[in-house]
Amino acid sequence: MTAPTTSGARSTASLRHRLAERGIDASLWLMVPALVFALALFVYPFSYGIGLTFQPGLATQERWGGGVFANYVAFFRDPFVFDSVWITMRLALPAALFNVLASIPVALVLRRKFRGKRFMTSVLVLPITLGTVLTAQGLLIFAGRQGWLNRTLMSIGLIDEPLQLVNNYVGVMFSLIITGFPFAFLLVSSYLSGIDPSLDAAARTLGAGWWQRFRRITLPLLAPGLATTFILTFVLAFSVFPSARLVGDAMGSTRVMSLMAFRAFGEQNDYAMASTIALMMGVVELVVVAIVLAWRSLFYKGSTGGKG
């Protein structure tokens, strides 16, 4: 503006202009579709579900007491339900940890240039396109009692009895790794490509060996990304449902929370208890996420110089 402005004078700009300065303008209408969907498909059903948890069935109230909180009392008091928290943790934590940790060396190797790199990457990422059900079916065919793996091992005389690799904890763990690893690998790779390669070169010229370069430079810069990757793969593994049922031991070692919620909903028609279990699933996930985020906040999170 060319007009001279006296100090302290009111802005001569129009209201519209002043609102736009604060980010309020017509482009905000573009948010409407997303808002409608969020309200209709998430906020309302979620609130409704929370409401349900405070309307326990008569049977639950009589058995566990606690009035409107009877569902929560049941959740914490009934070992059959509450143990599923640990069962799920026992699957999700090691699976997520393995996926993240195993991704690091693979991503580091695939960062270099070599022949067949694209092929290797494709093979590693391909399982992301398979659904959990397809993975489960594949596992049953491959690693079942009469599967190729057991038959091959027995025919070459390595084992006498078929190995029990499916319909138990191991089967679900396999399934979680097959579906979770590509995901973790892609994320870790992209975080790694965000680190300027000349940092590694600089550390080399300063006399750092590969382990020192990894520990002192790459790992600290990668740590926030690893935390995010861990959170995402953990949440993915924690809500495991199809594979726990198909390649797991649904009433025993893989009786995960989502199965319990489904049981309450589908078999017992106890919507209130199902909602409570679903809600508690979210709470447990949030607790883990909060712990990881708190740990992440200890690290440098600024620019790492690469192509980001």
Binding site: S198, A201, A202, A208, I217
Partner: protein, 382 residues
């Protein structure tokens, strides 16, 4: 204990070469660097100068040749064992470490006692005048300050050789001049041996004791700044050394002029010029004529042209450059000539230009695009 340079007598590069899948990025680099020298590797982008530096640093393995430090091969050592300091174009400071810790990194890698590390880090930081920024992260510093941290980090290790890869190219013009002085000051006061890569001939001429001009992976000429400035070996070097007027022509004299005092006549378009032959420019062979803008003089009325060199043209562009003017003159056959004059002519004026035959260099045209095979070997002897 003050920071000094690591001791050695000479660093020798023998026939060093590097190819990338059939493409030769660097061919037959022979160079002997004496301790305390400041060497600039100069050339346009893609000429192999950064490749040469990365080979020296050990970040790229050689495909040919050897690198010897006082007679000991170092090209077989990994980068971390060579003990050369390197300053990167992007600075490559560790973003998660403070200035102090960045500088201390190399010392820690050597497992020095903590007290000595603290002492040497403090010295290095005061050397580059960053005492009040010691606790800051690199992201909180300006470009020039980051550059100084990168230099401190390299010299704190007292390296036998400091390698600098276009360290000033990310700075603005004024800061670049300041840092140039700073780098030369550190080089002298610490007794460093520096190899400096740049594409800026002015930077190279002002900093270096000796320059290595590269083109397409091959050495074109090695020499002191004034040797290169006044006696470029071929027209590519001349082009790079600020001979902005490079004109294609044909040699008229049959005599093969090689000695510096001889003169030869050349036909350039409709003009006939007298110049100093450099290399084999026999009769009717194709040549390139190179003249610096500051060696062309606008002839005042009535003055006789020097050595019979007179070119008439129309002033096309006049740029103000402070004390002088950069003028572009278009001759009748369309050739554009760059001239520097103390007084500004008007656009459209008809002027006559002249240049001393001594300052008009005549090179063989080198049509193959490659220098003569013997050129690099001769260049080493300079």
């Amino acid at each position: 204990m003050a920071i000094t340079a690591g001791k050695f007598d000479s660093l020798e590069l023998r026939d060093v070469g590097r190819s990338f899948g059939g493409h030769e990025a660097l061919v037959g680099l022979d160079l002997t660097v004496r301790a305390g020298e400041f060497i600039a590797l100069l050339g346009p982008s893609g000429c192999g100068k950064s490749t040469a530096l990365n080979c020296l640093a050990g970040l790229l393995p050689l495909t040919h040749g050897q690198i010897l430090l006082d007679g000991q091969r170092v090209d077989t050592l990994p980068s971390e064992k060579r003990g050369f300091g390197m300053v990167f174009q992007s600075y490559a400071l560790f973003p998660h470490l403070t200035v102090e810790k960045n500088v201390a990194f190399g010392l820690q890698m050597r497992g020095l006692p903590r007290a000595e590390i603290t002492q040497r880090v403090r010295e290095a930081i005061s050397l580059v005048k960053l005492e009040e920024h010691a606790k800051k992260l690199p992201g909180q510093l300006s470009g020039g300050q980051q550059q100084r941290v990168a230099i401190a980090r390299a010299v704190v290790l007292e390296p036998s050789l400091v390698l600098m890869d276009e360290p000033l190219s990310n700075l603005d013009a004024k800061l670049r001049l300041d840092m140039r002085t700073e780098i030369r000051r550190l080089h002298q006061s610490l007794g460093l041996t520096t190899i400096y890569v740049t594409h800026d001939q002015e930077e190279a001429l002002s900093l270096a004791d000796r320059l290595v001009v590269l083109r397409e992976g091959r050495v074109q000429q090695i020499g002191t700044p004034d040797e290169l400035y006044d006696h470029p070996r071929n027209w590519h070097v001349a082009d790079f050394m600020g001979y902005r007027n490079i004109l294609p022509g044909t040699a008229l004299d049959a005599a093969n002029g090689t000695a510096g005092t001889e003169r030869t006549r050349v036909q350039v378009g409709s003009m006939t010029l007298t110049g100093r032959p450099v290399g084999d420019v026999g009769g009717s062979s194709e040549v390139r004529v190179a003249v610096r803008p500051d060696d062309l003089v606008v002839l005042a009325d009535g003055d006789a042209p020097q050595d019979g060199n007179a070119v008439t043209g129309t002033v096309a562009v006049v740029e103000y450059h402070g004390r002088e003017f950069a003028v572009v003159v278009q001759t009748s056959d369309g050739t554009l000539l760059h001239v520097r004059t103390p007084s500004a002519p008007e656009v459209g004026d008809v002027v006559t230009l002249t240049a001393a035959g001594e300052r008009v260099l005549v090179f063989p045209a080198d049509l193959a695009g490659r220098p003569a095979a013997t050129a690099p070997a001769e260049a080493v002897a300079v």
